[in-house]
Symmetry: C2
């Protein structure tokens, strides 16, 4: 089985190394002989890991895809172009493709699945979501009999590292971000991670597989973690929660007897998670995907979501699978399904944590409670901190519809007794 | 795809129910039409769930296996016979088989895999280990590129429920066991669970898949949880641990340059697990399998390990997979490999917790420390509780070989200053 590798950065380099280490064991256990045939890189002269034969290198990625002696393409360039065109032409020429490109799959995955299906070859992408954690294959295959109702994922290691530092060491968001950048966990421009774009792409892919309908990155509502304060973390701890950036995908069946379609809600935002929920113990840069199904109950998949070797392990698993499939003359069915009907964030329900700065005027609680009540948002618990001007009240609500909570916040802002609205966080997993 | 179901107890009944619920959705997403054709039961007259057509029932299981119109057999009878003969004849007549029978696979799995391979059909068994948790397929397929070095599993829900009660509520082993029996989590004769036989069978199956060599139930060393005391739990908490019944499978590569074979160590015993290890948060009757690999790092798979619907969900996932494979004219390769070379418990290494009752004589610590030192077991920490006669000392050792620890214990028993040896527990996951 001759492999063409597109891209030889951190993941690509680790893949070359791992392939060399594992080649003999794979041949012995799976009967698949893997050979690295060509490697497309941006620069031939850049220094490479010692175990990569320089004669394999080329800067012409298209020539690797066009090479008729190559059976299988591994794409680890990332981004939409040229990855999309290269994968498309590989699939159309009958090559199997393994990729870890979440951005590509979250935006134009359906077109690529159709190409793979038409050509009767594999398009595998375990590495695209949650790195080394086997989650794509379990969702596609193990849970075929299951009615998955909700996924909750910690799928961005950078933000989980930052939130863990804030929670454990009491450092500020800015300090934790700087530390993450220093350690190489966060990019110099951290927007894609901290604003939830990266998690959003992964949420779209997970939702598509779990629910069998097409969800794209643009369908995902997202909020980042830059507004989380030390005070929020303190409140969360006192109330028995940890704050995590969650990717959430939910399916809402149509009302009994209605002819309407099922709706899918997909969002990424920070959330308060009860300390005894399995996701609360997922620390540092680890990832986890929590799956809820009607028969299986609660499942969780935990592990390293990024890094060269963990991601390369997922890529190599897919390569062995795709190679074995080619030898046996078959391929895995690709995810199909119509475009999902997306339920807007305005119509999604959650419990909320709302932190208000209030004046000391008499009747403050009555006025505030009235604003919640006017929009049907009921209060589960409240806690006042401090007295006089600058006192704060933290509320946890029962489940409410987002648009009602927003209307409540608009009313609260207009109240004289409310000096300001601090954080508003959703509470998930109770 | 016509299904013959062997056994209709808790799991079989839940399977019938789930198949009815999910049939239409499965046909829509996987293109597989599933039909329950025959159901073999012990008694025709026993009351059944409402959605099972009584006309399908028979007490003649062999006639179901022999029925030429049936494509696929689901075996949920359990035990070795008649399950073994029925599965064998189903495989040999070209039917695919889905089973959740851990006892059978842990004892004679290799013969059955060979039968499936010879017939070119599937033998799938996701439900045999850790119920609803997808662990068999990820190990068999997702981690093909990975060098798995160790598995740590909480794979028996009954004992985990008992240990969770002891840890959280401070109840005794006897009280927690009685509560588990009252709730139906533990059998009236709890031996298979509390003595580690059930976990041992699952450990053998997991080790076989993870390492690609045959490990059978008889290869697994096991100790149960009946000796765990409230005092052990207290010590564990003070030292930062939880006590869990762990199934552990490890691979030991031959020394560099040696021609020897890799050895496999498989054991089940209670262990102290650090509170910040992901396994420490696995509570109540939940199961989890923690996987360590050289590239992927640490992975964990968490969920319900037992119960009708969770187990039926795993069975149905395998049924859909096997049915789709038949339609496409292929089957999954079965686990193969030679009999594993087993490393004896005597030669396995661990850190240990040792709790001694000592006299108040001067020089007690020197004498005790001398016994450890004489066998090369080094002490990482110690804590004395109480004074005078009846004082206790708890030690945590560095990693040591089991035979050296046992020699140390033999020497300690002979010391005048040692009134008795309390618990000895292995410490895992530091």
């Amino acid at each position: 089985m001759r492999i063409g590798l597109l891209g030889c950065g951190i993941v690509g380099g680790a893949f070359v190394e791992l392939l060399n280490e594992r080649r003999a064991a794979i041949a012995a256990t799976s009967g698949v002989e893997l050979e690295l045939a060509r490697v497309a890189v941006r620069s031939i002269t850049k220094e490479r890991a010692g175990d990569l034969d320089p004669a394999l290198l080329t800067t012409d990625a298209q020539s690797v895809v066009d090479d008729p002696t190559i059976d299988l393409i591994v794409e680890v360039i990332g981004g939409i172009e040229p990855a999309r065109s290269l994968i498309q032409s590989a699939l159309r020429s009958g090559k199997s493709v393994v990729t870890g490109n979440k951005e590509l799959l979250a935006n134009v995955g359906a077109d690529l699945y159709a190409d793979a299906d038409a050509a009767g070859v594999d398009l595998l992408f375990e590495a695209a979501v949650a790195g080394a954690i086997p989650i794509v294959r379990p969702l596609r295959e193990s849970l075929l009999g299951e009615d998955v109702t909700r996924l909750l994922g910690i799928v961005n290691g950078t933000t989980n590292y930052i939130l863990t530092q804030m929670s454990a060491d009491g450092v500020s968001y800015a300090e934790a971000l700087a530390e993450a950048q220093h350690l190489g966990y966060a990019e110099r421009d951290p927007t894609a991670d901290v604003e939830g774009y990266d998690a959003g792409a992964k949420a779209a892919i997970l939702a598509s597989i779990a629910f069998g309908e097409q969800v794209v990155a643009g369908d995902v509502y997202h909020e980042g973690i830059a507004g989380i304060t030390d005070a929020d973390i303190d409140y969360a701890h006192r109330l028995g929660y940890e704050i995590k950036l969650l990717a959430i995908a939910e399916a809402f069946p149509p009302a009994e007897g209605s002819a309407g379609r099922r709706e899918i809600g997909v969002r990424v935002h920070p959330a308060m998670v009860p300390v005894d929920h399995p996701l609360a113990s997922v620390r540092d840069s680890f990832n986890a995907v929590f799956v809820e199904g009607t028969a299986a109950g609660e499942l969780m998949f935990y592990g390293r979501g990024a890094g060269g070797r963990p991601t390369a392990s997922a890529v190599l698993g897919d390569v062995v699978d795709a190679a074995a499939n080619r030898l046996r003359g078959h391929h895995r069915p690709v995810p199909t399904g119509a475009r999902a009907k997306i339920r807007s964030i305005d119509d999604l329900a959650s419990a909320y944590y709302v932190n208000l700065e209030v004046t000391d005027a008499p009747g403050v609680l009555a006025a505030v409670a009235g604003a919640f009540g006017a929009h049907g948002v009921s209060i589960r618990s409240m806690e006042q901190q401090g007295l006089g001007s600058g006192a704060r009240i933290a509320f946890i609500t029962h489940r409410a519809i987002e648009r009602n909570l927003r209307a409540t916040l608009a009313d609260l802002r207009r109240l004289d007794v409310v000096a300001g609205i601090g954080s508003v966080l959703r509470v998930v997993g109770d």
